[in-house]
Amino acid sequence: MLFSLMQTACMESDLPEYVKLDKLRVLALEVNTPEVDANTAVTVTPYVSGVGATFPLSYEAKFCLDPSFGFGAEPTCEGLAGPTASGSIPSIADHVGAVATVAVTVPASGLIYAGRSLQDQFNGIPYLMIYTISDSSGQSVRAFRRILVSTKSTKNTNPVIQNFLVNGSATTTYPTAVSDLSLSFSSGAESYLEQASDGSQVTRTETLQTTWFITSGEVNFFRTVGTDSTEYTPASPVPSGASIIAVTRDSRGGIDIFKVTAP
């Protein structure tokens, strides 16, 4: 497997780049509270790129108990009970941004914890959201995320991006020269408890990982860890409305997003 990884890393690739936004994509599904108690209401905000899409867009959201797709089932709520929501998205400012939110209340404990071990209840049972977005030209993207329902007293929260830094200085302006981009956080990597099968608990620390999406220019590292930087080379000239979007994840479902757009 490691030889395959080396081979993959070294291959010259003609495949589309992950960070180039050139078609309909879901960049993130942000939950106001990524980890909750049973029977709690949450709000999900999809973050969508409509670059290259034909508006209006239509969406459908479905919720269900996780059908254990990690072990072979498809990530789908088809045939499973749960709330649904749907709607239309007429446009997105700068083609990339938050779209219509979806609200849901996670199941009560009697349902979501039924038959699950104390270890799983403590670490979190996933409540699945399937989000499908389509445009009128036939593009369609299916995305999913897990809303964790747990019994632990200290729940996960979303990281909070404090500042967007260009060459180490905080700014809200789109960079127009070759620059090092990074982020600072007012709420960064959290420590949390994880329970083992024997009941013992271990303290772990999140790793904040940021994906840098761009609509023009180049980045040398499209994913960075923590406060590490990536070098950005803008297109010349910088097109009006070009965007850089940083999506930071905490590896436990927590998300924050920052966007800067060229005038």
């Binding site: 080396m6 890393a9 291959m11 690739s13 589309p16 994509r25 879901v26 059908p67 072990f71 860890v225």
Partner: protein, 746 residues
Amino acid sequence: MNLWMILFLFWSSFGFANSQVIEGRLLERGTQIPLKNVQVFILPHRLETETDVRGNFKFESVPEGVFTLMVNAPGYQRFESPDHTGFRESRNFFIERQVYAELESVTVGQVEKRDKTAKSLTQDEFLTLPGAGGDPVKAIQNLPGVNRVQGFSSRVVIQGSDPGDTRYDIDGHEIPQAFHFGGLTSVVMPESIERVDYLSAGYGPENGRAMGGVVSLKTRDPLVQDRDKKYFFFADTLKAGGLYEQRIDDKSRFLISGRYSYVGQILSRVFEDNEQLNLTVVPEFADLTGIYSRDLGEAEKVKVLFLASRDSLGFLFKEPLREDPSLRGEFKNEIQFYRLIPQWQKKFSETSEINISVGLGQNRFLAEIGDNYFRNRNWQMTVRGEWQKTFSEDLISQFGFDNQYSRGTVEVRLPNILDTGGVNDPFSAGELQEVAVDFRNSNLGLYNRNEIRDGRTTWVPSLRFEHYNLTGENFILPRLAINQQKSESLLLKAATGFYVQPPLPQEVNENFGNPDIRSPQALHFMTGFEKDFREGGPEGYTLTSSLFYRDFDRLVVNSPEIVTRNGEQVPEVYDNEGTGSAYGAEVLLKLSTQDWDSWISYTWSRSRRTDPRNGETPSEFDQTHNLNFVASRELPRNWKLSGRFRYVTGNPNTPVVGSYFDADNDVYLPERGQIYSERLADFYQLDLRADKKWIYDTSIWSFYIDIQNILNTQNAEEFQYSYDFSTKQKVTGLPLFPSVGVKGEY
């Protein structure tokens, strides 16, 4: 005393005073092997004598004057040493062979096999087979019934079974891997191996715990020819090493060899400026082999084998992998094992003999990927023994045991990743499991084998008993082989039997698998023949052909079901609902002449698997046609040219028809189409090799150049997909790859 008597005595004494003793020794040039029972002539006196077992010769009375020593032995170049007038002491004469095989061939002619289903390659064959790089385990991939595996794989797949169905052993004792990483070379010095056997459908009761087959390496005794010591060293594109063997006394001898790979130094230069990764631990492998052999009596012998192997590799990703962001940071892989295998055999009488051997050692396996890891450290003991009793000319029985014991620790922190149809989900999509266990495991095997001769037919009914403590199962496994020597040159054979193997430990682990899993099993049938057209000589054709059929049951397959276990709802992960079959026909046609050696091996086969989720599909190694053509030609002045052409049907491939975006992990999951419903393009490759030897009196120097894939065929091995699986590009295997090597033998 009369005058005539006096004159006679006078002239006689004069003659005795003018003759001399000539002594010498004949040795083979380069190898210094003594030539025994060889005629030596002194001309023009027409004197003749014969060398003894040590190659020594002696002429008691050679007239004074100039003479020529001449030797004209079969298989050797005519030797003349002129213009001698006498030797003050014994001299060595080096006679050059007409053709030099690799060192000495320790088996001549056909290998005598107890198991007629086995296919074997001797050292002479695998050391010079083109495309095999002198490696015994890679060489058997040229034999019929062995499936082609992708590029840098280290697996051997037999007759459409799965890679995990093949067991590897050395001198009968299981080892955890046959190859160093990347499948570059096997874990033991090839020159310490006498032969490699590959056991396929219908193999005998001496082996078990493998539904596919067994790859068995047999080490040789040191100094099988009459030498006091010999050694060699070599260096090639990837590695260097050497071997030394020596007689200790009349009864004992030893051999020690070692190899080290510097491929890492090359790779570190390649990756020096790579934007994506740094090599933190230079890839390297090394192995050490030691053999000690002692004759305790005429019919008793002890042998001790020591084998150690180590692979290590590490690198640092400068950024998370674009296909899977959880793959980031430092990656490390180390595999080490060693075995000490003492062996004892004794022939008590013409009708009774016994052999017992024990394998002791340790395995260590470490893989670390960022925060995830798999660490396995365990002690192993394998015990094998057999008593053979000849009851009569028509009945020979063997009673034996073949047991394994292991204990150790396993620490795992890895996600459960779905791998279906050869398409893996990303690492980050799986549910993370963490477990640390101490384990003890034992697998017992007992067998009885009988050879019952009935005229030209030999019936071989046998029974094998196996117990696996991992699952608590017991199996009684009958097997039957029938061999009929239709004539001196024609052997008919057939075999059938039941085979099982224990599930993998992770498949029964309650965190990673299903503790209720049972052992998968198979039923084998084979029938075939061997025809030798050479009429007792070394030149001509041999033809081997057979049909095989395997039926698989209770195969372990992925399950998405939720079950109740100990009162809790848990994913089932695996079940035993898989079944399958593999069948086919094999042909091996060999031609040997004075200057040419060639063979064609061809396998036609079908391999299918069935499970409740996917229905019937081809198996991962369903390769309809597998053709190997190998040829070598001896040329004057110790040149040898050889080549290999391979053609194999493209492997089945599972199409990806869509994807889902995992918004938690920032990665896309593939949506698989019909499992293995497509095929990669057919594979073909031409390899060429040239060898040259320089023969000196006391040494042989060899040089080779081996060019794999000389046509630079861009064979597709798999596909690399874009981040959302919407587009793909093929990943090709080995490009044109030249390697060179030099070897000095003394």
